[in-house]
């Protein structure tokens, strides 16, 4: 059976419970569903919001390429990736990855792989909006994220 793949780029919030439920219900062979949600944080009260800019068109296509990569590496029954853009307040979900498989290892590993690759390949950029009302800096890419993505090249 072909895995059920859903990936979206949207401004609207997502519902974790609803997405997990939908993926768990795709078939009798699903024995494990793993999820990761990335949230906007205030950095100790310093930030009022994070503004996410994206490259329309390429964002969807690049997430699609990462999704295809994941399903060729792990035996997944399905997966859901939702990445938001626009203004995020502390506590808002920015990105959601849900993976379903017969066993937990594939679900866990694929979710981590998807996040590592989304971080370094999906064309999104975060800009800080400070609590004092001023516009802050563009968030800088972390060397850690590149290293996290690179390790799949040797493991894969």
């Amino acid at each position: 059976m072909q895995p059920r793949l859903i990936f979206r780029v949207q401004a609207e919030p997502f519902d974790l419970a609803q997405e997990v439920k939908a993926l768990a219900a795709i078939g009798d062979d699903v024995g494990a569903v793993a999820s990761f949600t990335g949230y906007c944080r205030s950095e100790g009260g310093r930030l009022a919001a994070l503004e996410l800019e994206h490259y329309p068109g390429m964002a969807e296509e690049e997430i699609g390429r990462v999704v295809q990569d994941a399903v060729t590496r792990w035996p997944l029954s399905g997966l859901t990736v939702i990445h938001r853009f626009g203004m995020m307040r502390p506590g808002d979900g920015i990105v959601l990855v849900v993976t379903a498989s017969s066993h937990r290892t594939a679900a866990f590993e694929a979710a981590e792989f998807l996040m590592d690759y989304l971080k370094t390949r999906a064309p999104f950029w975060k800009k800080e909006h400070r609590a004092d009302g001023s516009i802050g800096e563009w968030v800088e890419a972390k060397d850690f994220d590149d290293k996290a993505a690179e390790r799949w090249q040797t493991l894969g």
């Binding site: 990335g38 996410l52 800019e53 994206h54 490259y55 068109g57 390429m58 296509e61 690049e62 990445h83 920015i94 990105v95 996040m115 989304l118 971080k119 370094t120 390949r121 999906a122 064309p123 999104f124 950029w125 975060k126 800009k127 563009w138 968030v139 800088e140 890419a141 994220d145």
Partner: protein
Amino acid sequence: MTEIKLIYFAWVRERIGLAEERVDVPHSVATVAELASWLQGRGEEYAYAFENPAIVRAAIDRKHVKPDATIAGAREIAFFPPMTGG
């Protein structure tokens, strides 16, 4: 000369002051790195955006490319900082 659509994101966009533009690129400009260096000469906004060309990333027709990628046949070339989504 070849007309190419250029798109800029995040601080590359802010420094140049444009989200996108159509530019006539001379045929002598063959790669992404050469295009970045040619753009640097178009004005101080461009010089600022590409002051450290090694950290600016590029995509041709919505696919990530390396600096040595050829731009022949490209319809849309994007320049942007390292990505910080997720």
